[in-house]
Subunit: 199 residues, 2 copies
Amino acid sequence: MNHYGPRLSGLIDALRRLPGVGPKSAQRMAFHLLDRDRDGAADLAQALADALTGITHCPECRMFCEDGHCAYCSDARRAAGQICVVETPADLLAIESGTGYRGCYFVLMGHLSPLDGVGPDELGLGQLETTLAGGGVQELIIAINPSVEGEATAYYLAGMGRKHGAKVTRIAHGVPMGGELEYVNASTLSHALSGRTPA
Amino acid sequence: MNHYGPRLSGLIDALRRLPGVGPKSAQRMAFHLLDRDRDGAADLAQALADALTGITHCPECRMFCEDGHCAYCSDARRAAGQICVVETPADLLAIESGTGYRGCYFVLMGHLSPLDGVGPDELGLGQLETTLAGGGVQELIIAINPSVEGEATAYYLAGMGRKHGAKVTRIAHGVPMGGELEYVNASTLSHALSGRTPA
């Protein structure tokens, strides 16, 4: 017998739509918000509403942005001749914070997956092609995850880049720093060997 | 360099206030909601707002309720002569769904903790005392977690129950079903031994 009222059930169901939140966690979150942090619940409701109305995708690189253009595209100090293509905003942030790369980006927001109805249009590749066709892009850096769909997406992007005369590169796949050869999987080791560079 | 705009930062900070959600999870949730489940985000904002306005505490047992009285207190088939005191709504639901208990409840929403400013008033114990003084309560069942603060709370409750002539009982603490004596801690084992019952 479930004695939750409709509002409490509604809140628990809504919290379960968050990634990684199951029924027990959702119940715990709902009780915590109602019992100990009603201000936090009000803040969260307001933040969600603000985000939904105020956050859009940058028309140039498809990253999240809040005022027309994202901070990366509107930064004049960035090398406009380099475009690094990533799958998600989180990948972009990982490259931005972990490396010295200061060129431009293009965020696909996914990868090609015809079975799920995700084709070139859903990834905004027409937009990228327009940028490439405009000239001025010397290098297209493909930083896509090496999954099956990712490889197909990378292949498609490489063809598009070459068609417009850009140099197409892929980030290196190999043994991670701190990793041990003995424990690295065979596929990674093959990549590392075929991608060897002069020492 | 953090290139999040104020709305996205605000959303991530608000999500971090949920229990068990750290910075990485909050970022993942925010990106998921913005990128793949904007309907879910709108539903969550609405559910939070509805819950904040519509969910209050039952004036009798302090459980969450949505229309004046909770489903437990307003159920005439329940034994009004038994009151089971628990710390949280989750504890109430565990007892309700896991046992055959069909008496009334009283939810403390915490335990006595003078250092955190939680005294008898914060736990609504005045309200419980009024109920006890009204007579008609034969048994006060204490189902408080056996922590240090929980023990103090149970001691306080037992005194209050006895003062008003109610029979005071505590749920048994002992070896859990399926547990093995060898691996049960000493304190639990002592409780199990001193709480032995005729076979």
